[in-house]
Amino acid sequence: MTRTNLGRRGFLFGAAGLGAGAVLVGCTSNEPEGQNNQQPVAGGQGANSEPGKQVTIGFSAPAADHGWMAAVTINAKAMAEQFSDVTLNATEGTNDVNQQIAQVESLINGGVDVLAILPFDGKALTQVARQAMDDGIPVVNVDRVFDTPLAYRCWIGGDNYRMGVNAGNYIAEELKRQNKNNPVIGEVAGIDSLPLTQERSQGFKDALQRHGFRVGPRVAAEFTPESGERQTANLLQGAQKLDALWNHDDDQGIGVVAAIENSGRSDFFVVGGAGSRNMMELIKADSGPVKATVLYSPSMASSAIAMARLLGQNKGLEDLAEHEIPAELTTYSAVVTKENVDNYMDVGFDS
């Protein structure tokens, strides 16, 4: 009797397990139904877009472990596809510096004409980039800068300090427009030990100071939605009065917005950072606390590919008097608001 019971129990559990497994497997898909999920990409501009000499571009970037970095690789590939004269040789993204060095070496050996590299660690990849330059392969350095200008032909990257400045200016002007005297301005920073966070915070502080304001309650999250939610929930409890909040990063911004919704507060407005499509849609809808975001756009990867192509074809930027591509290009940390959000939707990335 016991035996048959056990058998029956085992059978039932087995069937339940199988059923559960079937349900779970059915739940793994992330394909939206009947919807084109193409990452939008800023189009190339100017007559330079006419096909020229064939160029093979080698591309190497860190692992796509968050929305911004994923967008870098997606943007680079999408940009390359727009040019009929570009062949993109993209390596699998990695956060292992040794592996990235090996990847760049193999790209060099593979005979690419130009390299576009976003190094996981600029210092660690300086040597191999310099090697490429010495071998006559121009290197476009994206965002994280190499140790020496000898390691790149052209650097393109974002401006963290100006992100803070522009966020601060926008908030200060908005508060003055609302006639708020002595406002409380909060800040949700990213990881505090990173130079980029320090630069953003410094810019924010400097800009507010210029307007006679200062940073009030400040917390540091870790660029993840969860940490953004946790830190913001605490910040909101500590700050019973709050007029504006700057959040450094739109990836963690999902959590920041969730925390504000959880608290049910609506006495202040939020400015984001980086420029995810998610935040841009919230800005456009104008129904929640998010009123603006300051760009640090992964579209710089698209521009890097465009410049790598021009380097390979020995062309300059047409609108400039210079005959060559500039050695350094800093993207502008524009403020996206409800008024101009439609112009920036094409560079918004999926966080």
């Binding site: 559960a20 349900v23 779970l24 059915g26 739940c27 793994t28 898909s29 992330n30 394909e31 939206p32 139904e33 692992a63 796509a64 472990d65 968050h66 929305g67 994923a70 505090d192 009030g216 309650p217 400040r218 917390v219 540091a220 870790e222 660029f223 993840t224 939605p225 969860e226 940490s227 953004g228 939610e229 946790r230 830190q231 929930a233 605490n234 910040l235 909101l236 409890q237 500590g238 019973q240 990836d251 999902i254 959590g255 917005v257 969730a258 925390a259 919704e261 959880n262 608290s263 998610n278 999926d350 966080s351």
Partner: protein, 349 residues
């Protein structure tokens, strides 16, 4: 052998544990609760207007919910003599799996079911390989820690998956009689955990296995199956915690649950549970979780840097453990003046 058995929790766990159940809080627990009260006092003195308000207490409890539930499972595993390093990754995997577009299209019920099943499944894989495959728990859960997060990254494409199913978030954001749903779930998890650990044979066997697995086996306990189930409980708790994280952040991401294993182990250890197993208390774990949550809130409300907070966190872990040692010694048990914790009888409260 007689001596070993005499000391073993199988023997004394029933009698001593039964006798001691009258004391709701022993000395160590009072010390720990004292630390919590002290922290609350500091919070109140530095921020009298905002700290001990209903809103802040509710916020702190809701923040404690996810890590609190994970710590319940961790308490079981550690009392049973194991360790689970994979909790954070299982939270991440469950949160991602339950928020894929496919899962969301089936509605909130399937999302909840999915989180629970994924958590339980991962936990059982851990458990069966530890128990029947004889993989050391540290290694097995380390492997799960790596691969569960890897699978989470693969499923999500390393993107944040926003929950569009509003019924789900609204349910978890709601309150029943002024108490947030998340806090009710947290309380339920601890009540169930306490009852299972202290009022059922399953709980008594968990202590017995952690105290002396061989003695437990000889006394007729199916140690292997029991061990597997204990890891299953931990996984299940992770699934529930994932639900809470998703509800709070309105998103599932492979970055969820980072360092939960460390936070949970810290909470369990300062709660007085022995890392070597065989003794521990679920109430202590709850106090441990609350201590860290209150600490976080105090630092944020006083606008202090996070680095100082981490220093304080480390100091509290060491301080709490030292406090427990002193308290144990002061109790002056003639039987164990040198206080070798492994040989003391198991004790629940």
């Amino acid at each position: 052998m007689t001596k070993a058995l005499d000391r073993s929790p199988v023997h004394s766990g029933e009698s001593a544990g039964g006798r001691r159940r009258g004391f709701a809080l022993d000395v160590r627990m009072l010390g720990l609760a004292g630390v919590l009260v002290l922290l609350c006092l500091i919070g109140f003195i530095t921020n009298p207007d905002t700290f001990l308000t209903e809103a802040n207490i509710s916020t702190m409890l809701r923040l404690a919910a996810a890590i609190g539930v994970v710590s319940v499972g961790m308490t079981f595993v550690i009392i049973a003599g194991g360790i689970d390093l994979s909790v954070g990754s299982i939270v991440a995997l469950s949160s991602v799996w339950m928020t894929t577009l496919a899962t969301q299209s089936y509605g909130p019920f399937v999302m909840v079911l999915c989180a629970v099943l994924v958590g339980l499944g991962c936990g059982l894989v851990n458990g069966f390989l530890v128990a029947y495959g004889r993989v050391v728990p540290f290694i097995m859960t380390l492997a799960m820690m790596a691969s569960a997060r890897g699978l989470a990254e693969r499923l999500s494409g390393r993107q944040t998956q926003v929950v569009t199913e509003t019924g789900f978030t609204e349910f978890f954001r709601a309150s029943v009689l002024g108490v947030p749903v998340l806090v009710i779930m947290l309380a339920l998890a601890y009540v169930i955990g306490w009852v299972v650990l202290n009022r059922t044979t399953f709980g008594r066997r968990t202590y017995a296995i952690g105290g002396n697995a061989e003695a437990a086996r000889l006394s007729g306990i199916n140690v292997k199956l029991h061990t597997a189930l204990v890891y299953g409980i931990s996984g299940l708790c992770c699934g529930v915690a994932a639900m809470m994280v998703v509800a709070r952040t309105t998103s599932g991401a492979s970055t969820n649950g980072l360092f939960y294993e460390l936070d949970a182990i810290a909470a369990v250890v300062i709660g007085g549970t022995l890392l070597s197993g065989g003794r521990g208390s679920i109430i202590g774990t709850l106090i441990g979780v609350l201590i860290f949550t209150v600490l976080n809130s105090i630092f944020t409300q006083n606008n202090l840097d996070t680095d100082i907070q981490n220093i304080a966190k480390g100091a509290i872990i060491v301080g709490a453990v030292l406090l427990q040692h002193t308290a144990r010694r002061r109790k002056g048990k003639p039987r164990a003046p040198s206080s070798n914790p492994e040989t003391e009888p198991s004790r629940s409260q």
